[in-house]
């Protein structure tokens, strides 16, 4: 169980990115976090990953406080962030460098096969497309078999076709070890395809606006009626969330 209790983050410039967030995530659950820019969703992942520390409150995994990066928590960033001076297999091997060489080799081979890049072990990152590079980043994060996988807008830099392809692929990957996944995205459709539960956040200061558990059957069809109904509902929430405070009260007056 991943528990976030009254989690707040104020950056040194005074900006309150996250204000008193409470959230619990079950093992194996896929949680989608959507929100416009500045709602603190990336900050949230940085706090869980241990890259940044909270100003107050706490994050813990099975009772262990998360104050620094931990092996049980993997992360995939918006960009692949591969080391250009390492070949693909060396990049994937990053997270399991403590294992014996033979086991490393077999695990790396397995991880690359799972993301469909078995033949690319000796290639350089510069030889890959954006989608392939992000697959390698997924393999790198999953090769250490983390309990929790954090995904920070992992597919937002890809074209629409590659994106939906990788979304489906991510679910296949999840099937192997069923890690808890926290997916931050600004793409409602992506959250609806992937997540069991969706949290909509709103900015100034960053907090939860609404939390929903769409009862949609899997595998999810992006063109299904119910799917689209949920999409519009969440779009409306997101639209309200991104308006400056007070705008809702002002709009009737503006109509007069």
């Amino acid at each position: 169980m991943l528990d976030l209790i009254n989690l707040s983050k104020r950056y040194p410039n005074g900006h309150l990115a996250l204000a008193g967030l409470d959230l619990s995530v079950r093992p194996g659950e896929i949680l989608g976090i959507v929100g416009g820019s500045g709602c603190g969703k990336s900050t949230l992942l940085r706090l869980i990953s241990g890259l940044d520390g909270p100003s107050s409150g706490s994050a813990s995994l099975d009772g262990t406080p998360l104050t620094e990066p931990r092996p049980e928590i993997g992360m995939v960033f918006q960009e692949p962030r591969l080391m250009p001076w390492l070949t693909i297999d060396q990049n994937v091997g990053f997270g399991i460098r403590h294992l014996p060489a033979a086991e490393q080799k077999s695990r790396i081979g397995e991880a690359l096969a799972r993301v469909g890049l078995a033949g690319y072990a000796g290639h350089w990152p510069r030889e890959l497309s954006g989608g392939q590079a992000q697959r390698v980043a997924l393999a790198r994060a999953l090769v250490g078999r983390p309990q929790v996988l954090l995904l920070d807008e992992p597919f937002s830099a890809l074209d629409a076709l590659t994106r939906s392809d990788l979304q489906d692929h991510l679910l296949d990957l999840w099937q192997y070890d069923r890690p808890t996944m926290i997916l931050v995205t600004h793409d409602i459709e992506e959250a609806l395809v992937l997540a069991d539960r969706i949290v909509v956040m709103q900015p100034n200061p960053g907090r939860i606006r609404v939390e929903v558990t769409p009862p949609l059957a899997r595998p999810r069809d992006r063109l299904d009626h119910e799917f689209l109904a949920w999409k519009y509902r969440l779009l409306a929430e997101l639209d309200h969330a991104s308006r400056p405070p007070g705008a809702e009260e002002l709009s009737p007056a503006a109509a007069i």
């Binding site: 890259l51 990066p69 960033f77 990152p125 510069r126």
Partner: protein, 272 residues
């Protein structure tokens, strides 16, 4: 063979013959100029007294080689450059790494070093002679000082320029300080570091002349002064030619040795 290419180590090439062909391109300009001058003097369009013809320069080099003086001069100069370069690189690497990695050290060291950098190294010559005497020590130190600054600047700057995003990946995988240095900072700074080594080596060859001007019994710089004092421009040009060949050879060596370490680079490939 592409690994032995000079400035485009990552370039792919087909076969040794194409590589030879491309290298030959670089010879067209110097050979053309040399032959042009040779012909101009032979045809009496020009007088080769103050600028001797290439054949005369080669003959002078040949003679200096025959009586055994040229190898002695070459070795003396090479030894000074190698020693000065080694000391300069060592100091530049240590200071550059420390001030790039550690803010306290940078605040302490960098202002002073930046101020010292603006003193022309030649200005130290009188002091160095007073402190270390007129012989080898002061020469080697002068060269080392010249080599030090480009390497210090490049390395400390390159460390500060390392992509935060890659460092974060290292943090996610819980790299120790040591792993962070060997697995991320070192490879990330390698391209600029190697470039600075080559710049430093070039400066080393420049400063060895200054060092040998300040009084030497041997060395290519001595040969220059000797040629000037005895009024033999062919000797001066012979020394200059030797400098060019030595400088180019050592730079080529350095570039070839480093090419393999940089083959991952995803850099601009100039048009053919």
């Amino acid at each position: 063979m592409s690994e032995f290419q000079d400035i485009a180590p990552a370039a792919k090439s087909g076969g040794g013959f194409r590589w030879l062909g491309r290298s030959a391109l670089g010879l067209i300009l110097p050979l053309g100029l040399a032959l042009g001058w040779e012909a101009a003097v032979a045809l009496h369009w020009a007088d080769g007294r103050l600028l001797p013809t290439p054949s005369k320069v080669i003959a002078t080099l040949w003679l200096l080689g025959l009586d055994g003086t040229l190898p002695g001069h070459l070795l003396a100069t090479l030894q000074r450059v190698v020693l000065g370069f080694a000391f300069g690189v060592t100091a530049g690497t240590i200071f550059g790494a420390v001030s790039g990695y550690w803010s306290l050290a940078r605040r302490l060291l960098d202002p002073t070093l930046q101020a010292l950098r603006n003193i022309p190294s030649i200005a130290w010559v009188p002091m160095f002679i007073l402190w270390f005497g007129i012989f080898e020590t002061s020469k080697v130190i002068l060269i080392a000082v010249g080599v030090f600054f480009p390497i210090y600047l490049a390395l400390s700057g390159a460390i500060l320029d390392v992509d935060r995003k890659l460092v974060e990946v290292g943090r996610i995988f819980r790299f120790s300080h040591r792993e962070m240095i060997t697995r991320i900072l070192l490879p990330a700074t390698l391209p600029s570091y190697i470039l600075s080594l080559r710049a430093g080596l070039g400066l080393g060859w420049m400063f060895v002349v200054a060092a040998e001007f300040m009084g030497a019994e041997e060395g290519l710089g001595f040969l220059l002064v000797d040629g000037q004092q005895t009024g033999r421009p062919a000797t001066i040009l012979a020394a200059i030619t030797a400098f060019a060949i030595m400088g180019k050879t050592t730079d080529w060596l350095l570039a070839s040795l480093s090419a393999r370490a940089l083959r991952w680079q995803d850099s601009f490939k100039p048009v053919e």
